[in-house]
Subunit: 294 residues, 2 copies
């Protein structure tokens, strides 16, 4: 049980965390700060936070739990702004989708307080943003990746793990580098491709006609293209080396399929699609088992 | 009201059509044929068809409505097998995802019966296949594209239009060529990219680890990669010229995003993502209006 959550960034991720913590009875009071005062105001109106802080530093003051829920490129400035008030027992976490850059920013700014910081990435996959969409259920049944370093205090790491489990999450520990490689493949590249898909249609004079014909397959394929531009700008830039590597492999796979589409016989294309289809179906069954089995 | 539906191909599309027609009280009796006798048997057990035909020709015999629901490459052989029993009042339709090739196959095989044939493409976007997944609701609220030619009998076209509307569909007429260009962009390319995405992960030794971390964004992005391999083999091969053209535009869009990921400043990437995100959100709102407005 925490006395006070200091929330820096009252958007979808931060707001949902505050709601989930309250519903689970894990925190008594939430003090929130957002760069935009209207967001902070709105968060209080919606009952997401109990009090508005005039600065990130004031949100941290007297809190025993701090969640940084800002676009990853804002991590360093945010940590710098609050480090003076980090106390030995305070648990500090982020929710950024990239981890090497977040850990590097923490190492540059937090000094001896680095032991209090547990980098976290909840896999929620929501395309909407803003405190209006915040909901206590957002993290329930989801996977959380924690990427501690040698400097992370083990006690804080265990507190973090217990907290996310109490919110209904499956917790996994990884190194920041392994995290960024894996998520380049299964999250960042899909987002990049979905953005490119929309961009590629918008380049054509027939865009509106084409879009008026798009059905449920297109809807699901492009859902993540509606994601928050500032957040994804930061993710794609921060992890660009890994993502470009994944994009190169993707191009190879696409080229192979294109060649098979024009081959003399049906078999090569059917084999490639069958492999893709089988892998997707197998993954889906495994994912269902994982999320129901806990 | 039709007396007898002759169903050639008792999979997801054909089976769902039979169930929808029965539920709407639009047909008295369904006679079905599938290449695999176990499929036909299963369709009867599930109440999708009332009687099994030993051949496609026998399914057409005495029917006043015929639906061809086979992979598009099997269209020509199927039409050839049944053309002798097509009668002047019979309405014949297909449900193929490509239309130029289907129309060409009909022109080569049907001769004077070509006027009875109304090429149709229902946009259902389901990734599952097989008669086990057939459901009367599949076509409800969906868009159907009809691609008549100069040879199509106007009376048959109007019957087809009324039939799909009675099943709850929005009907649109297009030329086969315009259909194939548009669906290369909003359906065939997304499927190709989803297959390539799975393929690109499977090429890597870390595939299983990566997939174990994939979340809801990946789930929706790759849903269509689980689609029926034989059906999509035919679609991609049949419409490969249009699809390769769309893939080239997609590569351009991807390249532009990749360059922006590495630019000196944030703005170009943010602008591209904002454009993609805005277009996706705008499309979704329009799609909701279209499907609720009828």
């Amino acid at each position: 049980m925490f006395e006070q959550l200091g929330l820096i960034g009252c958007g979808l991720m931060g707001g949902s965390f505050a709601l989930a913590m309250k519903r689970a009875g894990l925190v008594k009071r939430v003090v929130g700060y957002s760069k935009s005062p209207t967001t902070t105001e709105r968060a209080q109106q919606l009952g997401v936070i109990d009090a508005q802080a005039p600065s990130a530093l004031m949100a941290v003051s007297n809190s025993d739990l701090v969640l940084l829920a800002v676009p990853v490129a804002a991590t360093e400035a945010s940590l710098k702004a609050v480090r003076h008030l980090i106390t030995p027992n305070m648990l500090v976490m982020d929710v950024g989708s990239t981890k090497s850059d977040v850990v590097a920013a923490a190492q540059r700014t937090l000094r001896e307080h680095i032991s209090n910081f547990v980098p976290a990435h909840p896999i929620t996959g929501r395309e909407v943003s803003g405190v209006e969409h915040a909901e206590a259920e957002l993290y329930s049944g989801r996977q959380i990746i924690l990427t501690p370093t040698d400097a992370t205090d083990l006690n804080q790491l265990e507190r973090a793990e217990a907290l996310w489990k109490a919110l209904g999450c499956r917790v996994k520990r990884m190194s920041p580098q392994a995290h960024d490689s894996a998520f380049a493949a299964v999250s960042h590249l899909p987002h990049l491709l979905a953005f490119a898909m929309m961009q590629s249609i918008s380049m054509q004079p027939e865009a509106d006609d084409y879009l008026s014909l798009a059905g449920p397959g297109f809807r699901d394929f492009t859902r993540i293209a509606a994601s928050d531009p500032k957040m994804w700008r930061d993710v794609l830039r921060s992890n660009h080396e890994e993502i470009l590597g994944q994009a190169a492999l993707f191009r190879e796979a696409l080229r192979e399929l294109e060649q098979a589409m024009q081959a003399d016989n049906d078999q090569p294309l059917e084999n490639l699609i069958t492999a893709a289809s089988t892998l997707r179906a197998k993954w889906r069954m495994g994912a269902q088992r994982r999320s129901s089995g806990g």
